[in-house]
């Protein structure tokens, strides 16, 4: 990758033109300049990078993106596009990468919950964000995290005070709408769930089919002692959207994260989840599914590091690819010295519905501690003809039978999802997605 690629050039132009929030702050300006320099030097991640092995950025490298959407705050958003569960519950809405105060509903949050857009926080009190934004490039960074640091314009800062039990789900909605040219948005977010607090986040991605934006989200999530975070991702980004996410989660003693992910939309979609189980008896459960058709590409990187004694991680991810779609699943469990008694598992099953579809799956275990339990498994297969025949022999037409089996296969992502209406909403979305599966 060289600095002359159209994508690289458009990002450097963006950095030169874009008046980013907090640009008057000396430390922030310096950090952004340094990150941009590192980005130009390193370029886009290539397939020699183990975490990008099956995701090629050759097409992306030839594209150019505008620097954000200056009209984001005045873009009309059809309310029918907003996810139904978010309409009556607290929600933070981002339109084309910018926080929308008018579409968000954050007035009735309980005591002890603080929600702020990054742009507002930089305006009002930037100093507490210094630890998040003023960083030097390191080995964990790739081109997109550097780009994010160089060009972050907004994001979400969410803090739950110790002991607070937030009963209602908090929805975070990312909406992509057409804006003349394709634009790139870089969001930086922070979630802190205080000691013994409890929070349920539902993250939605929706978008117009013709909105071919690039959304680059980097976030840090801290779940403190005895706290519990439920995190549901319902990703239905627009058909032409590029969505890249890096989520770093740190789980302290007895902290728990339950993640459910349903990845349905977008053209090029990636989520790199880095779960650090630093605390004793910390726990990370994840259930995920993706359903891809056309030429969609989805890359799920689930990287779990056990550092705390008796920490537990369980992951079950199912993937479906039709047409010429491509799926990638990388589940890595790393058990560090000292994480004795850790228990980690990663299971991934995949279904190919077309001879041109492809799914690459790599489970990996690395263990450097004692008395550890670790299991992994991965399969790629097709719908079972015996099962299809069984359904048809009972009178169920072939297309309905296929739909039924694929739906059942993906439903693993909904196992244990709470509350029930959210699970039903997800089941309905899944059913909607599946008729496009070819008969």
């Amino acid at each position: 990758m060289t600095a002359s690629l159209p994508f690289m050039q458009s990002m450097q132009e963006a950095a030169a033109q874009w008046r980013l929030p907090g640009s008057g702050l000396g430390w922030l300006h310096a950090a952004r300049a340094e990150a941009l320099q590192a980005f130009v030097a390193r370029g886009l991640p290539d397939q020699r990078n183990e975490l990008w092995k099956y995701t090629s950025l050759r097409v992306l490298a030839q594209k150019t993106y505008a620097a954000g959407d200056p009209q984001a705050s005045s873009r009309a958003v059809d309310s029918a596009r907003l996810p139904a569960p978010a309409l009556h519950e607290p929600c933070a809405v981002f339109v084309n990468g910018a926080f929308s105060a008018s579409l968000s509903r954050l007035d009735d949050l309980p005591q002890g919950v603080t929600v702020q857009s990054l742009a507002a926080a930089l305006h009002e009190a930037p100093e507490p964000l210094r630890f998040l934004l003023d960083k030097h490039a390191d080995d964990e960074d790739d081109g997109f995290t550097l780009l994010n640091r160089a060009l972050t314009a907004d994001g979400l800062i969410l803090k739950i005070a110790p002991g607070v039990d937030v009963r209602e789900p908090l929805h975070i909605v990312h909406v992509g709408v057409a804006a003349g040219a394709a634009a790139a948005f870089h969001l930086r977010s922070l979630v802190e769930v205080g000691e013994a607090a409890r929070l349920r986040i539902v993250e939605h991605h929706v978008g117009e089919a013709q909105a071919g934006h690039l959304t680059n989200i980097v976030r840090d999530i801290g779940v403190h002692e005895n706290a519990h975070l439920d995190w549901t991702i319902i990703q239905r980004a627009g058909a032409d959207a590029t969505l890249l996410r890096r989520s770093k989660v740190r789980l302290h003693d007895n902290a728990a994260l339950d993640l459910h992910a349903l990845e349905l939309g977008g053209k090029l979609v990636r989520h790199e989840i880095r779960a650090e189980l630093t605390g004793v008896r910390s726990r990370f459960e994840s259930r995920g599914a993706f359903v891809l058709h056309g030429r969609q590409h989805a890359d799920m990187e689930v990287l779990v590091t056990h550092r705390g004694r008796d920490s537990v991680s369980n992951a079950v991810w199912h993937g479906v690819a039709d047409d010429r779609a491509r799926g990638v699943v990388h589940g890595r469990i790393l058990v560090q010295p000292g994480a004795d008694g850790a228990d980690g598992s990663f299971y991934n099953k995949n279904l190919l519905l077309s001879p041109d579809a492809e799914i690459d799956t790599r489970p990996a275990l690395e263990i450097y501690a004692d008395e550890v339990k670790a299991n992994h498994g991965a399969t790629v297969g097709q719908l079972d003809d015996n099962v299809l025949f069984y359904l048809r022999s009972r009178g169920i037409p072939l297309d309905v039978a296929r739909h039924m089996l694929v739906h059942a296969f993906c439903s693993v992502a909904l196992d244990g999802m709470e509350p029930a209406p959210l699970r039903e909403h997800c089941a309905a979305l899944l059913a909607e997605q599946l008729p496009e599966v070819s008969a």
Partner: protein
Amino acid sequence: MMLQIENLHARVAGKEILKGLSLEVKPGEVHAIMGPNGAGKSTLGNVLAGRSGYEVTQGSVMFDGSNLLEMDPEARAAAGLFLAFQYPVEIPGVNNTYFLRAALNAQRKTRGEAELDSVQFLKLVRERIKEMGMTPDLLNRAVNEGFSGGEKKRNEVFQMAVLEPRLAILDETDSGLDIDALKQVAAGVNALRSPERAFLVITHYQRLLDYIVPDFVHVLADGRIVESGDAQLARELEAHGYAWVRERTPAEAHA
């Protein structure tokens, strides 16, 4: 005539298994198909239900006046044909009730009948499950998932009771059952006997036929029917073994 099979030849993986099988079944009749392993018993059931991989090379099968062999498996089901599987498959994630309602309503839709709503359907399955002596918790489980061998076979008969086919084919429904389960399955089948409905009971052993007494017994050997008789034939087979049939009818069997 409900089912008319004439000179049926069928291949599986390039090997000819059925070699000129003919059989006629009228409404209300129960026909037992017996025979040694490899005779083609299960092939007959699978060909009739329309499983892929079974290639018919010669002959015809008419079902209620229609050419059965031209129909998709789901169309055969809607026309009233039911196969109770020798090895019922497990379908994780698909709820038994949901599956059965989808099946019944798909059949009714094809036949131009009104679909049942969930209240009507639940009433129907509760009646049937009671008649089959099965526990209702089975309804809320995934299709056959984690079922014992006996539960799977009973679930087949239960599905049959709900779908009410005109012709039911039982493919070795007795295999792997203990005597109590066998009696329950037989009682379930007997409860469904009626002047409008016919059964093809495929079995290796005479034991099941003590409980489901057939009107006709046919012996299948080397891909065709070599001997037909009444229930008495099954008892003679039990006494003498299949070799006895081959000895009795050499000319016919090797014609």
